[in-house]
Symmetry: C2
Subunit: 202 residues, 2 copies
């Protein structure tokens, strides 16, 4: 491993300190952010949940709407139940059929979930609103993108809104304050299908 000089190390640490101070400084402005977690990797919803935990830890009221209910997203429920005064958690995606024969029903489910998001965003008592997997619903045109963007653009200045899901529309990325792409580098269930490569790689 390459040796780093003290000067290099100090310069790097000074940079980190400046960046941190700037973030802390920014935080005192308490500007509500529009945050997008997208990409094909894991962690989009997990990172939103982590932010929810921090928010409720600060006593902020949070609304979470799950547009698509995943089988592996049940663990947080018992935790949220203990903070029922601060979290309104609504898994709205159970009704999805993903059946194109009954597309009208899925559009109705998406609409119902979106109406909840709109209500929470319009209510300034919510400091943070999470629209989990909204990007997937937009991807399938179950909601009009223009309407979604208009609501997000008109959100109260102090409200944080977090939108998750792969394939975030470019217009949403353009509007957002903070966008992170979770990139899949390595996945255990992927690897199962390509076990032979293990003998090649190491």
């Amino acid at each position: 491993m390459a040796e780093r000089t003290d000067a290099e190390h100090n310069a790097k640490m000074a940079k980190i300190k400046v960046a941190r101070d700037r973030i802390v400084e920014g935080k005192t402005q308490e500007k509500g952010l529009l945050i997008v977690h997208t990409g094909n990797g894991k962690g989009k919803t997990s990172a939103a949940l982590g932010m929810v935990v921090r928010a409720i830890g600060h006593g902020m009221k949070v609304g979470v709407i799950q547009f698509v209910k995943g089988a592996w997203e049940t663990g947080e429920k018992p935790v949220f139940d203990r903070f029922a005064d601060l979290i309104e958690f609504k898994p709205m995606g159970e009704g999805f059929t993903w059946d194109t024969q009954d597309r009208a029903r899925d559009v109705a489910v998406a609409r119902e979930a979106w109406d909840e998001v709109k209500r929470m965003i319009a209510d300034p008592s919510y400091a943070m609103v999470v629209a989990d997997e909204l990007n997937i619903v937009l991807r399938y045109d179950y909601l009009p993108l223009d309407e979604v963007l208009a609501v997000l653009a008109a959100k109260p200045a102090d409200t944080h809104v977090i939108v998750t899901g792969r394939n975030a529309p470019q217009a949403l990325i353009d509007m957002a304050d903070l966008v992170t792409e979770m990139t899949l580098v390595k996945h255990p269930f992927r690897e199962q299908g390509v076990k032979a490569q293990k003998g090649i790689e190491f």
Copy 2:
């Protein structure tokens, strides 16, 4: 926006279902995973916290060691305090000076934190151990990489270990089961420094 045919839509949905079933199936094996969150974007620690929330929601015991204490990582404390029976949360990074004049002290702080991680990994009662920002400590050679890899390689089969921080060593990525890179697409505090571009971009 391009129209998708029913056939395309159904094929996509069938793929998603297969992928989900495979993940659920994999989960029943209950193999403990070595998970790495790296990259220059936000969400590495947040995603780990989200996983912690799910784990405690399932009644699993979790240990969290923070190698580097960030000013913005205080919100989770009050939440964790309510689950004191399931979470052992240790912010160990307060002692870091990042002062190369006193590198020995920082090495000692890193060692103390690592000893805690080692203890938790060795204790099978912990179902999940989070080594938050361990990658940064490795980056500065405050701990011997070989020792860290040896401990991770010898972890109990059922234990999940999550390592976060930018600049994950390649050898750690090679060893890990699941690696996600959080990529910075857009950052509000970055944007503050380049405000002029706003008039150009939109």
